[in-house]
Symmetry: C2
Subunit: 334 residues, 2 copies
């Protein structure tokens, strides 16, 4: 079966200059996939022609007259921009023309439109955003990352089920371990909601490890880490900020004078190996889980390499029927 992915070609900080080359690279790498580029037809036709299209029927263009900007209020994006490239891409998933949609646009708008158009799976009260983070052992999946701020214990349980299924599906693991993000001080351990979520997770059929702390994320203590969207978003952004600071600091030290610049030159192979090992670009592509359809959010500032990674994630979820698998896990809760 050919997997078709609808791409919001206008979204993100860069739009076509990233999404078109990424599409070409992706189609070259994965002959079992086709792409529908959604956006301004004129611009797209010209960009695709310039790139030397040789993909025939595997690459289509679908016009959309509007664009959701990073500044658009979610309500504006949802109610007034009904012909946005984001909305049309998600419509293609809804109507069955595409198996998945990928966008680098406004996260809030993407979640709201996806939820409105696709609806949530039976038993899922709130969709969640899951991403992969590098660990000292490999990587882990963390959710939620900002779709849900005030979570009930039941929501956190649902995140655990969705995260577990995501890892089972993408990594072909039988029983991924699930940790609940908490704090360690014994008498002040967690708040009431986290405590009750722990009870629900313990009683579930998940491979529940128990509470994990912030440092366990990067230690790779569990395959999945569950938290509410406020905590998840803060941790993700703080980690990005810390990594940027350390990289900038290392660069500064290596640029201090001629001698240190020479050292940088000599150490380049090591520094490059280090860089590619923890390269956040290859982790690009957060999954919007719990919807009746596959939607992947790319980082807004993604480059073509990074956007292509998000397309690959969409193809992988589509090939493995992730939404149906989550739905089947939820049957007993419905």
């Amino acid at each position: 079966m050919t997997i078709t992915i609808a791409v919001d070609s206008m979204g993100g900080d860069h739009g076509l200059p990233v999404t078109v080359p990424a599409t070409f690279e992706f189609l070259r790498r994965d002959p079992g996939c086709s792409i529908v580029l959604v956006g301004n037809e004129e611009l797209l036709t010209s960009a695709v022609a310039k790139s030397g299209n040789s993909f025939g029927e595997r690459l289509k263009i679908r016009n959309a007259s509007e664009v959701v900007t990073m500044e658009d209020a979610v309500a504006t994006a949802l109610r007034t921009k009904k012909d946005s490239s984001m909305r049309v891409a998600i419509n293609l998933v809804k109507e069955g023309t595409a198996h998945a949609a990928v966008s680098a646009g406004n996260t809030g708008a993407l979640m709201a439109i996806s939820r409105f158009v696709l609806k949530t799976l039976p038993g899922i009260e709130r969709p969640a955003i899951a991403t992969i983070l590098p660990t000292i052992k490999g990587h882990c999946y963390v959710l939620d990352l900002g779709a849900n701020v005030d979570c009930t214990p039941e929501h956190l349980l649902q995140f655990g089920i969705m995260g577990s299924q995501l890892v089972s599906t993408l990594e072909h693991m039988d029983k991924p371990s699930v940790g609940l993000l908490n704090i360690g001080e014994e008498d002040i351990k967690g708040n009431e909601i986290v405590r009750r979520a722990g009870d629900l997770l313990k009683a579930s059929d998940l491979n529940f490890y128990g509470s994990v702390e912030g440092n366990d994320i990067f230690k790779g203590t569990t395959d999945v880490v569950v938290c509410d969207g406020f905590v998840g978003n803060v941790v993700l952004k703080a980690s990005e900020g810390l990594a940027s600071m350390l990289v900038a600091g290392l660069r500064e030290e290596f640029k201090r004078n001629l001698l240190t610049k020479l050292m940088a030159l000599l150490s380049r192979p090591v520094l490059n190996a280090f860089k590619s090992r923890f390269d956040h670009r290859s982790y690009n592509g957060a999954s919007l889980l719990g919807l009746k359809g596959i939607v992947i959010k790319s980082h807004g500032s993604a480059d073509a390499y990074s956007f292509c990674c998000a397309l690959e994630k969409a193809a992988q979820e589509a090939r493995n029927n992730l939404p149906e698998k989550i739905a089947s896990r939820m049957v007993k809760f419905v």
Copy 2:
């Protein structure tokens, strides 16, 4: 005026082998200070004798027959270990013999005992734990880091006032900027408590910057970042975990083979400069704020250098009468 610091010499992962050398180093560096080492008198007398005590009246030993362990429940530490080195050190602050207490022991127990013995300042409902984190520009102060899990908007306002006064006092800044940790997605911006805390902070006389996101901590966007103890603890531990992972990863790449080991040798001056710039050891010493007395929590695994930094922080807060300054800021709320 000589500043006297009571040291819980038995606390932390290492006890005397760290606290005694750190005390000696501190007394050498700061002639205006004296120390009371609290713990097992016999062990302390022998350790101090071995180190070649030359500080006369500036170094005293005070016996305490018990030790709070990392595994002790807070209730046990508080109710049954009334002659612990931690408790006796804090008692010395209460009775005016010492100006500050420093411990590397169990955080939960330290907070509970400090609160029970010293009591909170008028107008402060909950003490908070504040620490300093490196930023690309210098450093910032973050609180709370785990003392308070379920916070009201009023608690967050009090954290803002205490954090602002901490920075004013330690850094001699007139109006430190204060940010409220939040998430950026516009429609799902923060939860109700954070929203209301923002209103209170805006209406206060603080130099309130507004909401900041996780990455702003390490960008150094504001001098103070306020959050509840759950989020603060998770962010702090995740940051420690990420930094450890990156350092371990860099070390692994430099150790891969003979050639890379040679590169490491050549680049050592740069790597050392990088390391010392972001050395978490020099940031050791979290302040327990809002109490009628000064208590500093050292990292449990601190080495002597690092523990000495915590002693210096205690001396600095004592010299600047931090608790009285916080109390005077709270007068209008009482």
